[in-house]
């Protein structure tokens, strides 16, 4: 006979082994919190905004020029992260890291049909991130003239060091929320696994099915009132055991 596990059985298991679920969830959240707050070092972000726009002497807007500037952004994004720019920035700042390592800490983002793109630098030192962001964007502005033979790049917003910089990584609350969800899932999984592996008697049906013997009766868990036991002042101690005065019959 096949044994089917219903939704009620799953809920019963969860209810019965709630302490396992709570414990594992708590462990997951605590690990996540300790890793986020004590192990992972905070990473700060600095960003500059660069405008790609050909200097126009006339007051009218040239839409063809505008579109070509937008199309150029994708090319500029690649150039900005290339060794041509990054190695020069490293030399200027006397950084020990290679251009590949610096490249990993740089992100270039742009919005669709916009002439502005952002350069974002991440570093464990907030002031260093600001300096790198500004240096890279300035180097790019200088070098692009020679590379593309155009002078259509201008920095519209420089990176600035805030008084109390907020790290972008790690995000402890988010990490803990993710850990909570994972912890609950692992907890429920563990509870169901423990129940599946549990080869003990649960009820009368188990006894009858496994032993083929009649169940004379069941005794429920004793309430707390009976578990405490009752002491009496008349009880005497003899050796290690408690006995009472006997009355000869």
């Amino acid at each position: 006979m096949e044994e089917t596990v219903g939704l009620f059985d799953i809920f019963h298991t969860i209810k019965k082994r709630w302490n396992v679920i709570v414990l594992l969830t708590l462990i997951a959240v605590l690990i996540s919190a300790s890793v986020s707050y004590y192990i992972l070092k905070p990473v700060y972000q600095a960003s500059t905004q660069i405008l790609v726009n050909q200097k126009n002497t006339e007051n009218k807007i040239d839409y063809t020029q505008l579109q070509s500037n937008v199309d150029l952004i994708n090319t500029y994004r690649v150039i900005l992260k290339s060794p041509v720019i990054l190695e020069k920035a490293i030399d200027k700042l006397n950084l020990t890291q290679s251009w590949e390592e610096l490249n990993q800490h740089i992100q270039v983002t742009s919005q669709e049909n916009s002439q502005v793109f952002s350069l974002m630098v991440e570093d464990q030192d907030a002031s260093k991130a600001v300096v790198i962001a500004n240096t890279v964007s300035e180097t790019f502005q200088e070098e692009i003239k020679g590379i593309m033979n155009v002078d259509n790049v201008s920095i519209i917003a420089k990176a600035e060091l805030k008084q109390n910089p907020i790290p972008v990584k790690p995000k402890p609350i988010l990490n803990m929320a993710i850990a909570f969800v994972i912890g609950v899932m692992i907890g429920i999984g563990t509870a169901l696994l423990l129940d599946f592996m549990d080869n003990t008697f649960k009820d009368e049906h188990d006894v009858e099915a496994c032993l083929g013997l009649p169940v004379l009766g069941t005794v429920q868990k004793m309430p707390k009132v009976h578990e405490k036991g009752k002491r009496d002042s008349k009880t005497q101690t003899m050796g290690s055991e408690k006995v009472v005065s006997s009355v000869e019959k």
């Binding site: 008697f201 649960k202 006894v207 013997l213 005794v219 009976h226 006997s246």
Partner: protein, 234 residues
């Protein structure tokens, strides 16, 4: 003859164990009475007078079950003798708050007669025979001729003789005793007793040619749909 004991003034353990004596109207006491009734009707052709209570492993509630069953049988007005045949870790003397200087082993070794060692309890018609001094060879004592004589003598004086025994899988004593009793009861602890262990215990009892009266499921989680869940103690 027997010395009277006060249940209410026993060891701190007995309050938990003898719920049938302390709180006879409680749902748990009613459950023990149900077990008693089922034992009485378990065999139509032959009355089960000498009953052994055992389990596959330790701490499954044998002693608690046998003590409460003894009380429920005594409450019927039957003369009941509760014998502590657990000659390894005896507990009956703790439950009833009596000393264990003389007892079952004293009778088996013919040092004292049964009448002088049996103790009367506060519960009417309930008598206890503690284990007595623990011998180095319990199995040999139980297999001896004096054991048969003891059962015959006890049957003359009492309506029911209930034996509290050690775990089946731990020692051979229960198997030896099972062969000399009218019936055996296996106690299983809900969510603790392993199915395989209980199967082995059943096999051992069958090998001893013992009549297995049935199983008592102990420490079961109360469900909302259980009858006694609603039946409150007065």
């Amino acid at each position: 003859m027997a010395r009277k004991r006060n249940i209410k003034q026993t060891s701190t353990n007995s309050g938990r164990k003898l719920v049938t004596a302390i709180d006879p109207k409680s749902p748990i006491s009613e459950q023990y009475r149900t077990i008693r009734t089922n034992i009485q009707y378990s065999s139509v052709d032959q009355e089960q007078r000498v009953i052994m209570v055992t389990s596959s492993g330790p701490a499954e509630g044998k002693s608690t079950t046998v003590a409460n069953l003894a009380v429920t049988f005594a409450q019927l007005g039957k003369k009941v003798l509760l014998v502590d045949a657990d000659l390894r870790k005896p507990t009956v003397h703790y439950t009833f708050g009596v000393n264990n200087l003389f007892g079952f082993t004293t009778v088996l070794t013919k040092q004292r007669p049964l009448e002088s060692v049996v103790r009367e309890t506060e519960i009417q018609d309930l008598y206890v025979l503690t284990s007595g001094p623990i011998p180095p060879n319990p199995a040999e004592l139980l297999i001896s001729k004096s054991m048969e004589q003891f059962i015959e003598e006890a049957k003359e004086q009492f309506d029911y003789i209930l034996f509290d025994t050690p775990p089946l899988l731990a020692v051979a004593d229960p198997q030896i005793l099972a062969n000399q009793c009218d019936g055996s009861i296996l106690v299983v602890f809900s969510e603790r007793t392993e199915i395989e262990q209980a199967k082995k215990a059943k096999e051992l009892l069958e090998n001893a040619h013992s009549k297995l009266l049935g199983v008592v499921l102990n420490h079961k989680e109360a469900q909302k749909n259980d009858y006694y869940y609603y039946y409150g103690a007065k």
